[in-house]
């Protein structure tokens, strides 16, 4: 069976990035917007959050983002793959990581709120 699906890598990548950003920006966007999932974008977001509150522990959120980025190859800017057909990421793995991300982002939001009120 041919497992190739009729979607470009850009479509698959954007769909996945949107799900991740919905979680992160839904919880933490009020402090700083995460604008993408490349190494450079995550680094820029981390820098902005640290400027706001440098006592907050971002390790758990960053760890899940890193796992996503590594498994789905989101780290690099690969805009030229816009038209290339690609394979789909396993949905089960995506759901598990999204759950972990949601828990981590929720905890970070609570901590940020607490630190900023003290």
């Amino acid at each position: 069976m041919n497992s190739r699906v009729n979607e470009t890598r850009f479509v698959v990548r954007t769909t996945l990035e949107r799900r991740i950003l919905a979680v992160v920006n839904g919880q933490l966007g009020q402090f700083a917007a995460l604008n993408g999932l490349t190494d450079a974008a995550v680094h820029s977001w981390t820098y902005t959050l640290r400027q706001i509150e440098n006592r907050c522990d971002l390790a758990s959120v960053l760890s899940v983002l890193d796992e996503f980025a590594t498994r789905a190859e989101l780290k690099a800017d690969e805009s030229r793959d816009t038209f290339e057909l690609t394979l789909r990421m396993p949905p089960a793995a995506t759901d598990v990581l999204l759950d972990r991300l949601s828990v981590a982002a929720n905890r970070t939001r609570a901590e940020l709120g607490r630190l900023r009120s003290t």
């Binding site: 850009f10 479509v11 950003l21 920006n25 839904g26 966007g29 490349t38 450079a40 974008a41 680094h43």
Partner: protein, 227 residues
């Protein structure tokens, strides 16, 4: 040099329209199933004048790229028409001429579908506005590339492709806004500072305008195909 078959410059550096926003785009063709070679192997193939800049490398195994050439993927036309050999054999001696690109309707439809989902993302969080503007930029640019295949003597892969189409196509947004959504894309990809005041309304307006533009063109294409 290890499993590296060849490296090829493409994009603005190959076309000669470089500006301060240009990536250094390099295609690296490697032996099948070898995976990526060390980046330093690719950098070594660059002209000395370009070695200070980190290249954005598109890695492809020979068989995969051959498959894409045979399928007539637009990316292979980009390489075939504009690629400049840095190391290894000429592209034309490894791969045959790409097949005719026939997937413009499929590709444009997929970009319209992506833009249609923007509203939902913006409702979920206003903090998604910069990312969504960036998605709109990529969609608009690539729709224009696909259209240029149909409407121009030679496909246009440049960053301003939407503004090079024949006048009858209209434009997806003002060029000043196109520059802003492009900057949003660079914020999301390269970590550059995002433009100021990008909010939900701005992102929605730009995407709605682009979606209406693309949908009108797509309808026209479908009508022509039906005739």
């Amino acid at each position: 040099m290890s499993a590296l078959i060849g490296t090829y410059l493409f994009g603005s550096h190959a076309r000669g329209d470089v500006d301060d926003r240009s990536d250094l785009d390099v295609l690296a063709v490697v032996e099948n199933h070898s995976g990526r070679v060390p980046l330093s192997d690719v950098v070594r193939t660059l002209p000395v004048s370009l070695r200070k800049k980190t290249p954005t490398v598109a890695w492809y195994g020979r068989a995969r790229l051959d498959e894409m050439f045979r399928a007539g993927e637009l990316f292979t036309w980009h390489i075939f028409l504009e690629g400049r050999r840095l190391y290894g054999p000429e592209i034309s001696s490894i791969f045959s001429r790409p097949a005719i690109y026939t997937n413009s309707v499929r590709d444009i439809t997929s970009f319209v579908k992506l833009m249609n989902a923007t509203g939902h993302q913006l409702e979920a969080s206003e903090a998604n506005a910069v990312y969504e503007c960036g998605v709109t930029y990529v969609c608009v640019r690539n729709i224009a590339m696909a259209l240029s295949w149909l409407a121009m003597p030679r496909p246009d892969f440049s960053r301003y492709s939407p503004f090079h189409l024949p006048e009858s196509f209209g434009t997806p947004m003002a060029q000043v806004d196109y520059d802003i959504v492009m900057t949003c894309r660079m914020a999301g990809q390269r970590g550059y500072p995002a433009p100021h005041n990008i909010n939900r309304e701005y992102a929605r307006d730009r995407t709605d305008s682009a979606t209406a533009w693309a949908s009108r063109i797509l309808d026209g294409l479908m009508n022509e195909l039906a005739r």
